[in-house]
């Protein structure tokens, strides 16, 4: 009985203490371009700058596109294919997924441009497409000779007309200062020549370091 009343007393006390003014801020949904306190203090690029980097890379690629098609494409009448390539992450503070995020933003901005769509098509990686087809048509279980016509494999152009969109990210950390250097490029699949490259650099001084 004594123990029960002790628990009851403690509950009442803790309820009173616990019901004090709530600490912190529940926050909520905000615009991407608004920088939050966590971003100002945590290591890594601010999200607004990631969006800005993607804007610059996409704009630069679209503004250079006519020249690229004329001078770099082996046959300007053939629509080139662009596949997501490698991301080299040496930022030390940001996960690779952050750069995949930037690349998705770039892709969306490029895809919105009619000039881009007229000259280039984005394609998924061959393995991903093969996987989708296996799931749809159970091709794993079928004799390759018995497959439906037109489903023999994933359509791919000559490597002369195929390019990889690669990304590189480097970070330099000195005390409370962080410097990030991003670079995205288009590399021809046949000979590895970089036909386009754009970089973005940003420096921060963060309070928590």
């Amino acid at each position: 009985m004594c123990a029960v009343s002790r628990v009851g007393g403690l509950c009442v006390l803790s309820f009173i203490v616990g019901c004090g003014a709530p600490k912190g801020d529940p926050g909520g949904r905000v615009e991407v371009h608004r920088t939050t306190p966590a971003e100002r203090r945590a290591p890594g690029m601010v999200v607004a700058d990631m969006a800005s980097a993607s804007d610059q890379i996409a704009q630069s690629l679209i503004s250079d596109l006519n020249g690229i098609v004329e001078k770099q494409f082996r046959d300007p009448s053939v629509r080139a294919w662009v596949v997501f390539g490698a991301i080299e992450n040496k930022s030390y503070t940001m996960p690779r997924t952050d750069f995949e995020y930037i690349r998705e933003l770039v892709k969306d901005k490029l895809q919105k441009s009619a000039l881009w769509r007229d000259n280039i098509k984005f394609v998924a990686q061959r393995k991903a497409v093969e996987q989708q087809n296996r799931e749809e048509f159970d091709e794993d279980d079928r004799d390759p000779l018995q497959r439906e016509p037109g489903r023999e494999g994933v359509e791919r152009p000559s490597k002369e007309h195929m390019y990889y969109l690669n990304g590189k990210a480097y970070g330099v950390l000195r005390g409370s200062t962080e410097d990030y250097y991003l670079s995205f490029n288009l590399t021809r699949a046949s000979d590895g020549e970089e036909i386009f490259s754009h970089s973005y650099e940003m420096k921060y001084t963060k309070r928590d370091h």
Binding site: G24, D25, A38, V47, D108, V129, Q132, V154
Partner: protein, 185 residues
């Protein structure tokens, strides 16, 4: 007995402090916001954007919708992962789909699930021939500093051709959630 007392007190403190969530997880309103935004964008692109050139005489675009691929740190139950795509599909006017020769077919995942429970009669869906997939990828960028947290979400919808993997349409919704303080404060 002491452990029991301590547990009871902890529970009461946590319960009494649950005035407002201090977390950056997606809410029900966010899911509705994402689906409505994308539905509006897809409808606009069918009328005036990249898909506007399609007509009733264009080669059929037979789309199988796939559930959301979750690359965030949030847990997304299957119901939400499906609802996010189905809601977009259902919002498209039938007349517009007919004008553009676009059809949606039952996803293979549901065909298989139904076959296991004998919901479908034998021989069902043998004529099913999807040409495209509608896929959704959910990504996030997280920044945390002591009691402050921000999660930037990017939800990317795309339609790709199954024959080549060509991206024929894509659009995104991006927003941030932030919070300050501990869950139990």
């Amino acid at each position: 007995m002491q452990i029991a007392m301590l547990s009871a007190v902890t529970c009461v403190i946590l319960a009494s402090c649950a005035s407002a969530p201090r977390r950056t997880m997606l809410t029900i309103e966010d899911y509705a916001f994402i689906a409505d935004e994308i539905a509006a964008k897809l409808q606009a692109d069918l009328s005036t954007g990249p898909l506007a050139s399609r007509t009733s005489g264009s080669p059929p675009m037979v789309i199988s919708v796939q559930k959301v691929v979750n690359l965030t740190s949030d847990l997304l139950p299957t119901s939400i992962r499906r609802a996010l795509v189905v809601r977009v599909k259902d919002s498209l006017p039938k007349v517009l789909l007919e004008e553009k020769n676009i059809q949606f077919v039952i996803p293979m995942e549901l065909v298989r699930a139904g076959a296991g429970t004998r919901e479908w009669e034998e021989g069902s869906f043998t004529e099913r021939r999807p040409t495209h997939h509608m896929t959704v990828k959910f990504r996030s960028v997280t920044r945390t500093a002591e009691k402050q947290r921000t999660e930037s979400y990017l939800c990317d919808y795309q339609i790709t051709a199954l024959s080549s993997g060509e991206l024929v349409w894509s659009d995104q919704v991006e927003f941030k959630r932030w919070a300050e303080g501990r869950l139990w404060d």
